[in-house]
Symmetry: C2
Subunit: 243 residues, 2 copies
């Protein structure tokens, strides 16, 4: 089973270049994942009755262009596999002309809401019928390693960063990272790939450090990011690369 979810890019979704923000694109991709999981009967509202929830482990997104205000975008999404701890959900993004403007691959774990520990996915009763035999549309999310941190910024987590799971919204990390880039780097990010790894949760009131570095030795300029908590533990790492 697979589903298609339509979103219209609104005034609130665009930046000064009148194109959708990267943050919004990621949020809409994750929204389609949530809507489709609901349709399949294992969305967050279903899981919460069993005191469990989906959490994002890794995500890769490739965008050929950023849509503009008033454009409708269709996000087609399907689950391609289940492991014991992770499931892979894929997305393709099409504009009104049916042209593919982007794609995503996401890896999810299910956690117990009290212990915050991962749960075994094997007992998902409807797992066989919900799988679609179609490969991920782009390379799976890469593991993001360490790098030389050339800039550090502090950030204190506030109310508006917290999502329905009671922790920092997955896309907020990307927003903080992108916000550290200079304007000229942002302007060149019309077509791009990002890989993001979620290692630990962050909650209200925590002070985080956003480390960034740019690797000019790569064939294309690659932006590296690492967000650490007060204990110095990496909680989210990402790379952003122009395509």
């Amino acid at each position: 089973m697979a589903g298609t979810y339509r979103y219209r890019i609104g005034q609130r979704d665009i930046d000064a270049s009148l194109r959708a923000r990267l943050y919004t694109m990621g949020d809409l991709i994750l929204g389609a994942a949530g809507d489709d999981a609901d349709m399949l009967g294992f969305g967050v509202s279903d899981l919460n009755t069993g005191n469990a929830s989906w959490v994002l482990s890794r995500m890769a997104v490739e965008l050929r262009r950023l849509p503009t205000r008033g454009e409708d975008m269709d996000i087609y999404t399907w689950v391609s596999d289940y492991g014991r701890l992770f499931t892979t959900r894929n997305m393709t993004l099409a504009d009104e002309a049916g042209e593919q403007i982007g794609a995503a691959v996401t890896l999810w774990a299910m956690i117990d809401l009290d212990t915050r520990r991962p749960l075994d996915l094997s007992p998902l009763s409807n797992r066989a019928t919900s799988l679609v035999d179609r490969e991920p549309p782009i390379e799976r999310p890469r593991k993001v390693g360490s790098f030389e941190c050339t800039s550090e910024q502090r950030y204190a987590v506030v109310y508006s960063d917290i999502d329905f799971n009671g922790h920092v919204n997955s896309m907020k990390y990307l927003e903080w990272m992108v916000d550290t880039l200079p304007a000229e780097a942002l302007a060149s990010l019309d077509a791009l790939r990002f890989d993001i790894n979620y290692l630990h949760e962050a909650t209200l009131g925590e002070t985080l450090t956003i480390c960034s570095g740019t690797d000019s030795a790569c064939p294309v300029v690659t932006h590296h990011f690492d967000i650490r908590n007060a204990a110095g533990t990496s909680i989210c790492r990402a790379t952003v690369t122009p395509l």
Copy 2:
């Protein structure tokens, strides 16, 4: 002429209480204003060809409840009057059952994008036909005065705060204000009124000070906010009151 615009509250729009964020409600109200101005042929894209744009001067919003994920909300909006410098645009918000869950009154000025100075609204050729003879649904936006500032926080404006007008998104000020409130104050804000005054613009890289104070002498607890720029000038003031 008037229009109705439908929005579905998505996963990205809710907080940990699973209700729409105040920020999102404001953003959707302003999105309806933008969409309707476009329909009438004097939206931002029309104005930009003449190097002008709409800017929000004052806004009052009353919400009876905050909608939850998956709910459709209809925003009905109309322009009730034009002055030489300001025009009044009104909104009512209805849920799927047709129940009114909120209302808003907004005052707008038109600025020249180079000088950032207000323009005379008199030459708007279609002004007569676009007016609707219907009073604002709630009390017009109040002038927010000075108050005793009991808490101050610094904030540096980043890329994701900037909207299509090239300045800070009007609702970002509200977000920063609400983010300073303690959790128990936020929990009591299911039904509320806010009045917000926009006095000056803020742009990328500026460092702002968010002053707040709570007036317990009022019949209901009233939260006061004042955002000042580096020169100490108030750029945005607001009050938030439970209803």
